[in-house]
């Protein structure tokens, strides 16, 4: 088991990570959710021994690895948010370099490179330089480079940011394969809620450097079990209408969207007529009303007051 215990990191007087505790059991796939600037990347750097914490501990199978991180580094693979590859080298040369520094040699190295190129679907383009690849292809090689030494734990920091749907599906499939077929423990960081819902059995939600909720996806959804989500499609945006709706008693949250408003309201509350009347007063036409059960996105909105992509 890999644990972070009360991790804290202060940069120039500003607390980036504030008493974060989390754990990864072997074979688990765990999500770490949070908007930009929530402290996810710093937490990952602390857990993977790339940063020394201001206080707190990181433990592998109960043993602290802060002072001697080598033991952890041998079993961990990190996929950074950035494309951490040499653009002037080909995919094959990049994987060969990273394999060699993990002390792989000869046939073992060659087999591992070809195996991973097959997994990420780039075997036939392995000799091309990274700088000629699309963003999605680079991200796939970025993942493969972290897997050269068959790590037990893989930490992925937003591996699907800014890529095409085909590459995104390929990456999600790779993560599933790693976790379900090879038993690799995955900590998956994203601000794409649906990816975390698809891939992870447990989720930590982080905001302003703190873990604000943790549990299985079902447990988290239950935070909003007493509430419904109401989606109002309007003919035009209206700030005053949103303000009036916020003041209604059953309404917990109002979020303005492109097509209208999203309201988180107390379950069983009969406020449709009040909503319609308010819209009429502001001369706004309601085109469609949709009631849905809460998603993790709604849980996040409920807990933080903002969306993941804020």
């Amino acid at each position: 088991m890999l644990e972070a215990v009360e991790l804290r990191k202060v940069f120039k007087g500003k607390t980036a990570v504030d008493h974060v505790s989390l754990y990864l059991d072997e074979g688990e796939s765990v999500g770490l959710l949070g908007p930009n600037g929530a402290g996810k990347s710093t937490t990952i750097s602390l857990i993977s021994s790339l940063l020394a914490p201001s206080s707190g501990d990181v433990r592998l199978n109960g043993n602290s690895v802060i002072a001697k991180p080598q033991q952890l580094r041998e079993v961990i693979g990190v996929v950074p948010q950035e494309i951490a590859l040499y653009e002037a080298l080909s995919a094959y040369e990049n994987l060969k370099f990273f394999g060699r520094i993990y002390r792989l040699q000869g046939k073992q190295l060659e087999m591992k490179i070809q195996e991973l190129l097959e997994v990420i679907g780039l075997r036939d383009r392995q000799k091309e330089l990274i700088k000629t690849y699309s963003g999605g292809m680079k991200r796939r090689v970025n993942i493969a480079a972290a897997l050269m030494h068959d790590p037990k734990f893989v930490i992925m920091d937003e591996p699907t940011v800014g890529i095409d749907p085909q590459s995104r599906n390929h990456i999600l499939e790779t993560v599933r394969l790693l976790n379900r077929e090879k038993g690799t423990t995955v900590l998956y960081t994203s601000h794409y809620m649906e990816e975390v819902e698809q891939l992870c059995s447990r989720v930590y939600i982080m905001d302003h450097g703190r873990i604000i909720a943790a549990g299985t996806t079902e447990e988290l959804r239950r935070i909003l079990s007493g509430e419904d989500t109401l989606l109002l499609q309007l003919d035009k945006p209206d700030e005053k209408l949103a303000q009036e709706l916020r003041e209604l008693e059953p309404v917990r949250q109002v979020e303005e969207m492109d097509s209208g408003l999203k309201l988180i309201v107390t379950k069983q509350s009969h406020l449709l007529s009040e909503v319609v009347q308010a819209a009429e007063r502001h001369r706004v036409q309601i085109i469609n009303i949709h009631v849905q059960t809460p998603t993790l996105e709604d849980v996040f909105l409920h807990l933080t007051g903002r969306t993941l992509r804020d």
Binding site: S48, R73, P80, E82, I83, A88, F98, L129, H149
Partner: protein, 425 residues
Amino acid sequence: MISFFKKDFLVYWRDRKEIIISLITPMVLITVLSLALPGWVENSTKSLQMKVAFVNLDDEETGLQQIRELLSQQTLPQETKDLLGQQLEQSAPAGLFKQVLQEDSVKEIVTLVELDNEEALRRLEDGQIDALFTIPEGFTFAVLNKMLLNEGEGSEILITADDGSLQVDVLKDIIGSFTRTLNLQAAIRHVSAGNPDLDADRLMADSEIGGREIVPGVKIVTSFQYYALAISIVFALMISVTVSSKAIAEKREHTFERILLAGSKPVNYLSGKMSSTICLSLAQLVIVLLLSHFIFGIFTDRSWQFWTGMAAVLIIMSVCMGALSSLFTALVFRLDDQAASGISFIAVIIAGSIGGSFVPVYVLPEWLQAAGEWTPNGLGLSVLLKWLQTETINDLSDAMLKLAAFSIISFGLAVWIFPKRGRVQ
């Protein structure tokens, strides 16, 4: 380490812009500067000019008188005594030596001032003069006694100087040449004294003192030779900065974090930078110098010894560039990117300027020339220029030892200042 070497080498090699800068630009600069500024370099004597004090501790008249008395006591035929007596008046060695120093060809190089011993030593210490010739006490008597009567141990003109520079070598050559000529003349006189068929005067006329032979083996450095060496060396220095600057991208794009997580030691990482820079800078030096040689004919008619010596200096200089590259890389991880780049860039500009890579060292003040020899490029250039002129192995070995020491210190410093646990704080 081989993986790091290969990675760093390929990353640089595939950067076409850098390759063009390191090969084409030096060739253009060598051509332009050599044609535009030939006068700055091709003053054959400028590099050898020196101020020398002449200190005479000898009483020439007393020495001559002592020899006359000795001659009169010799059991020689009167005719021989008369001949030697006549020659004595023309053979006062200190006077002859002074005449040599006042010849035009010597005056081009040596500015002579007559001083007493204390003043000369004081000026040498202050750096106002480069060396001093001392005619020791009893010089005239000892030399003539040996020359004419073949008795006693003779005497020597002394040179005192602060360092073993090329100028001092030239002064030694002047004395050596003077001594050889004097000995030759003495030998001729001895032989002719017993053989009336030999015309001593004609033979001595053939052994004139002075002339161009006073600087034997010193060749003129042409502007093409100077700039080919200076420009190729400064561009090799720039390769060390360019290779180290790739570490900024490794830091920014987190490839270095991957390297850390793999448990690689900083010394392996730095060795990769060093070894790739050694190969790249050596390749750059060899290509630019060979191209210059074939295009401009800068090293024609040189011996294998010359090429071997130059190759040895270029190799040790490339090692220096490699060590510098590792030091600049360590700075990238110790400081922020801009500060590290700024320091490396300023270091290259200063080293290039005082090391004679942009303008010939001869136009710089003496203290800057001395400071320039503390830079690897300055020392390398200086030793290669000397090698071009004299091919003296001692000059090479001293400089190569200094360059080797510089490399070891730079690499040691790089390992020392590299963040200890490799953490990116």
